[in-house]
Amino acid sequence: MNKKEQFAIIYEEHQAKVFRICKGYFKGDEHTANDTVQEVFIKIWQHLESFRNESRISTWIYRITLNCCLLHKRKPAVKKEIPMPELPDAIQVDYNPIREEQLKKMYTCIGQLEATDRLIITMILEGMDYGEIADIIGITGDTLRVRIHRIKKKLTNCVQL
């Protein structure tokens, strides 16, 4: 498999998840999330040859994702270099104002969390296992479990209000 094919598979499998993690980190801001997704995949392309199967490819990708999110702050006015394609009609048909409102509230609550907590909870919501999250963040499983418990409590309290 050549680099391009490998990259295409990675992009297909992980782009949506990377986008949602970025969106959670940037408090629901889709524009910034999209910019960061671009940055993430550019980094993945640049470093793909150095991936040595020492960890899971997903761990490797989400480490780059989190690090790109962290550093995105240093570029306040990122140019949009790839134009946005038209959104498919399905999204417009699927539009549900009540759900949109609930989603907005959810992102506001996620946005109130501290930066690392935002990243952890988005990975939890994405269904990633604790071991992998601990590996991505660089903390022990026990520390992560305690932290997740605290974050869930904060988040549910906020959503209930």
């Binding site: 782009q15 949602r20 550019i42 470093h47 590996d135 991505i136």
Partner: protein
């Protein structure tokens, strides 16, 4: 259903509606373009640095010799401050690019924080020194300019030189503020 289950349900609902804006081919093209751009920038930095050093050496060899004058000192100060600035910026760029983006979040945050701390030192110590050296150099050249050029051209040099310093200082302060803000943000990160 607990509240967290509700959040999870909401989160899953949005999964179907998300479309990322980048197309694969364009993304690869952009990645290649950016890689080329980084390489070109590194070549330019090396070229500017090399030319500055060559100019510096050439100037010492040809013009100053052992004769010292305020004019020579002025030119030397200006050249030296420019060389120093280019060296510092190149070093910073290389250091930033060497930080491994594939490492875990905790480690990456630690390295990035260290990088911004070094930038703070540069901004608070090296930058004022460089700026003062450059300004002093420029001021030392003025008497010689006054003697050699017409009044109108002399006034033009003073005004344009002054404007350059003001604009440069303005951009410098903006950059410093941005980087200090980033450092504060990084320090607040709790891992």
């Amino acid at each position: 259903m607990t509240s967290f289950d509700t959040i999870q349900y909401l989160w899953n609902q949005q999964s179907h509606a998300i479309k990322v804006s980048s197309r694969l081919e364009e993304l690869i093209e952009l990645a290649e373009k950016k890689t080329r751009k980084i390489k070109i920038r590194q070549y330019w930095n090396t070229a500017i640095l090399g030319i500055s050093i060559l100019l510096f050496v050439w100037y010492i060899a040809v013009f100053t010799g052992l004769r010292a004058s305020w004019f020579h000192a002025g030119i030397l100060l200006m050249l030296l401050s420019l060389v120093l600035r280019v060296v510092i910026e190149t070093w910073s760029l290389v250091t930033l690019n060497r930080i491994d983006i594939r490492t875990d979040f905790r480690n990456y945050t630690r390295h990035i924080t260290r990088f911004y701390k070094s930038r703070k030192m540069i901004h608070y110590v090296a930058t004022p020194l460089i700026l003062s050296a450059y300004t002093t150099g420029f001021l030392l050249l003025l008497p010689a300019f006054k003697k050699s050029f017409s009044t109108a051209f002399f006034v033009y040099i003073v005004i344009s030189g002054g404007c350059f310093l003001v604009v440069f200082t303005f951009f410098m302060i903006r950059e410093i503020k941005k980087e200090i803000k980033m450092l504060t943000f990084l320090r607040d990160i709790d891992i």
